[in-house]
Symmetry: C2
Subunit: 340 residues, 2 copies
């Protein structure tokens, strides 16, 4: 008789109004079923918290269905195969998939991919070598189309995506300017990630900071935040500039829609392109991304930045903290069952 | 001794604050100089008034320099060569160039192109076969990239550009919806220009009208107006929709910037592209445009719509009326000296 596993998971207890609170979440212990044919039982070592999850907590139609009340949340997680009923995986394989917000997951093998723990620490597959890394890569290269010597501005630059956007842009020969929400993060961008300029957007109007840090204007703006920073960036864009619309974290908790950029009309006279994108539309590019990014990582050209929180019971706090900008680099939760 | 010509011209007397008034303009008579080597003397038959001219009346940097106080305005005009000091033109040629807001113009031959009065009435070269026609063609085909069966929404659809956007979109097999500012214009769009649906944007919220007229959503929005209609269109865009940002006539007279679209964040989840463009960047495409559009015109697939005002002294009123939406189709001024 095989061992029966019990594990904890986080469920959505109620839908957040505005900023999420601990009370919106519920921790429960469940008994894991035996994997059926084609399924895996995975012990998660790390789970991801990501800004896009806030949208799924609302009961609204979007590109991913909303989370259901009373059910476990899900999201990226990386772990170890305990049992496999798929010919493609064996016990002991390390895998990444969508079984997050729980300590163990039983799920279809099709939703998992193997990862190489010798190439990078496991949690890197939730960040630099995972969805956030791929997002930075696609948004900067495909939407932004950087040309050597151009100026790239990225907001939330100390976040999982923003930090990589800046580092890739530097590799492409661009001048890179980033904004972040604390002086420590600004220092980190300048000293650790090689940004040419960085500023704390809470210290004053972004328009003034861009005036100072982008004297030759902005050619590419990678927008993670929307709101005031988007408007300020539009005001400083050069002709034929590109804006990759990746997210709008400044607005995710908004209960009434904030005003849009008052200067959007400048897009006509300056021939700007604003393009929204979702990384999952670009899956065909994932192997190329993984090859490039793991190369850069190995050569030390890109650094792995992370903020680690311990224990599944802390996952709601990690998520709430993420929306408040309490992370530098990728925010992950190390699960209690993890042996690392 | 050659005859000396005298003619009237309109000068910018003061910069408009908000909506322009007659007092911002000044009518003066001038003696025309003899054309120098490489120049032409042209008698204008028709001059154009266009929304983009409002921006040039402000003292602001843009893609064209501002008009200068105390000097004649300029803009598109079509006329007849009276004297040529260029080997490329001869007396009696009909030409289009930038010598508008005056009855006669002396200007460089390089700024003129010959037109064929047998192919279409002269004033067509200021509309369907000129800059507005080229704008509709480039914006719809290059930016919008219409696919048969898609829904195209165009605002200011009874204007010079909008009416052509709708007609070209129909030729490309699209379902076409237009907005305009009066019930007469709406009737005109449906009955004369073949729009599938049209609505009067002054009769109620645009969002409701789009809900009714675009049940399957919008794939391409050709934006001539900005403001409320842009926000409403974003709200109804389908995934991977394209928005050609051509103008924002609802805002040209604004003295404080109106709020931008509060739902721009939808561009991310719906993967929208918003792209501003200026027709003069696409000059290399002009011959292709002219071939296509004159073919459609000849075959009766596109109709020539115009509102004609008589006399250069009426040009300011024509322009002010244009900004108020008093035209259907291209607004032109027939000049007093015209023999037609």
């Amino acid at each position: 008789m095989t061992k029966a596993y019990k594990g904890r998971e986080i469920r959505l207890k109620s839908r957040p109004q505005g900023e999420p609170t601990r009370a919106n979440f519920e921790l429960t212990e469940v008994s894991l079923p035996e994997p059926a044919e084609g399924q895996l039982l995975v012990r998660n070592h790390f789970m991801s918290v990501d800004p896009y999850m806030r949208g799924r907590m609302n009961d609204a139609k979007s590109y991913v269905p909303p989370f259901q009340l009373g059910q476990a949340l899900d999201g990226g997680a990386v772990g170890e195969v305990l049992r496999s009923r798929s010919p493609d995986f064996k016990e002991g394989d390390f895998v990444v998939g969508n079984g997050g917000w729980r300590e163990y997951n039983v799920g279809d093998a099709k939703g998992y991919a193997k990862v190489d723990p010798k190439l990078a620490p496991l949690q890197a597959y939730l960040g630099v070598l995972g969805m956030p890394g791929h997002t930075a890569y696609v948004g900067l290269l495909d939407i932004g189309k950087p040309v050597k010597g151009e100026t790239v501005f990225v907001s939330a630059a100390a976040g999982a995506v923003g930090g990589l956007v800046g580092q890739i842009a530097r590799l492409k020969g661009c001048r890179v300017v980033g904004s972040a929400g604390s002086d420590e993060k600004v220092k980190h961008l300048r000293e650790k990630l090689g940004f040419d300029e960085a500023f704390n957007y809470k210290s004053g109007p972004t328009a003034e900071a861009l005036e100072r840090t982008c004297p030759e204007g902005i050619d590419i703006y990678f927008d993670n935040v929307g709101g005031e920073q988007l408007e300020a960036a539009i005001g400083k864009m050069n002709n034929f500039g590109r804006i990759a619309l990746c997210g709008a974290i400044s607005q995710y908790n908004a209960t009434t829609p904030p005003p849009g950029p008052r200067n959007l009309f400048l897009a006509v006279s300056r021939r700007l392109t604003l393009r929204g994108f979702i990384v999952s539309d670009h899956r065909d590019q994932f192997p190329t991304f993984l090859r490039d990014m793991s190369g850069w990582l190995r050569e030390g050209k890109v650094s792995l930045e992370e903020t680690v929180v311990d224990g599944i019971e802390q996952a709601p706090e990690a998520f709430i903290g993420l929306l408040r900008g309490q992370n530098t680099g990728k925010m992950v939760v190390r699960l209690a069952s993890s042996p690392t």
